[in-house]
């Protein structure tokens, strides 16, 4: 006989792994559908959808697993592990996680939309800072206002999508998630 706690744990593990898969596919899909724009560091950030959902359903540990796992898997798959792009991705993902976690601990003050916006802005800021450190010049910071400005609508869009998605996940699975 399986206990209820075991069932919840299994569900959490399976759902987190599925979200990691979704994050990787969304990230790759985005690079195919939307070519890199003229402003470096600006992306739709579709993969963050899975991270926001993981943060909302399970909490920061699972969100970190999805986000950092995605960065690692995509780097392994595309052969960019350890390169400058990888370092930028990793630092962006970590900064975004920290901000989203901080916003999510404020109860109902911020919604998933707020987490997503804050996370997107932190992602962009960290990437540009790391890019500046890597090339030893402040040149990438010149893009900061454009990148930061563009991260707001993309963060908003992804946040809204996450809310829509969460509202359509059946009650049953949410209660099994223990949240």
């Amino acid at each position: 006989m399986q206990s209820l706690a075991d069932t919840r744990e299994s569900f959490r593990t399976a759902a987190t792994a599925a979200l990691l898969g979704v994050a990787v596919v969304l990230g790759l899909l985005e690079t195919v559908l939307v070519p890199p724009v003229a402003v470096p560091g600006v992306r739709l950030g579709l993969a963050n959808l899975a991270v926001v959902v993981a943060m909302s359903m399970f909490g920061p540990r699972q969100a970190a697993f999805v986000s950092l796992g995605r960065v690692l898997l995509v780097a392994l798959a595309s052969g960019t592990l350890g390169g400058p792009g990888f370092l930028m991705s990793l630092s962006g993902a970590m900064a975004s996680l920290i901000v989203m976690w901080a916003l999510s601990t404020r109860g109902t003050v911020f919604s998933e939309v707020g987490w997503s916006i804050g996370g997107a802005a932190a992602h962009v800021a960290a990437q540009l800072l790391v890019a500046s450190l890597i090339i030893g010049s402040s040149a990438p910071l010149a893009f900061a206002p454009f990148s930061l400005g563009l991260s707001l609508p993309t963060g908003l869009t992804v946040g809204y999508c996450a809310r829509l998605l969460l509202s359509r996940i059946p009650e049953l699975s949410l209660s099994a998630a223990g949240r």
Partner: protein, 119 residues
């Protein structure tokens, strides 16, 4: 979307707007100059005004032309004329005439193209 979400959005938008003057100050500084290396020495050239430079190389003369803030080799006394075919120099993409020992490097911020894409 809660009230604090909106406040966060507004605050970040304000930060982005306030950063515009700072970033434009960074970008406008120092793009337009080139450094010419040749057997007869090294010299700096401003790309702000058009001009023609005759550089004495190891085999013959290399003629460089500056127009619209860009520099290229228009003719060279060498076998392959690779430097002429390579067109305008840009930061990270110098002109090199190996037989004559002449090279032109543009200093400044690399403007176009991506050198890494993060995923």
């Amino acid at each position: 979307m809660t009230r604090c979400d909106v406040l966060l959005l507004a605050a970040l938008a304000a930060v982005a707007l306030l950063m515009f003057p700072i970033s434009s100050a960074v970008t406008s500084s120092g793009v337009s100059s080139a450094v010419i290396h040749s057997p007869s020495g090294t010299s700096g050239v401003s790309l702000d005004e058009p001009g023609r430079y005759e550089i004495a190389g190891a085999q013959g003369v290399v003629i460089l032309e500056v127009e619209n803030g860009r520099i290229r080799a228009v003719s060279a006394e060498c076998p392959d004329h690779i430097c002429v075919k390579s067109g305008f120099a840009s930061p990270g993409r110098p002109i090199v005439c190996a037989p004559n020992g002449v090279s032109v490097t543009v200093t400044g911020i690399r403007g176009e193209g991506l050198d890494a894409v993060s995923r």
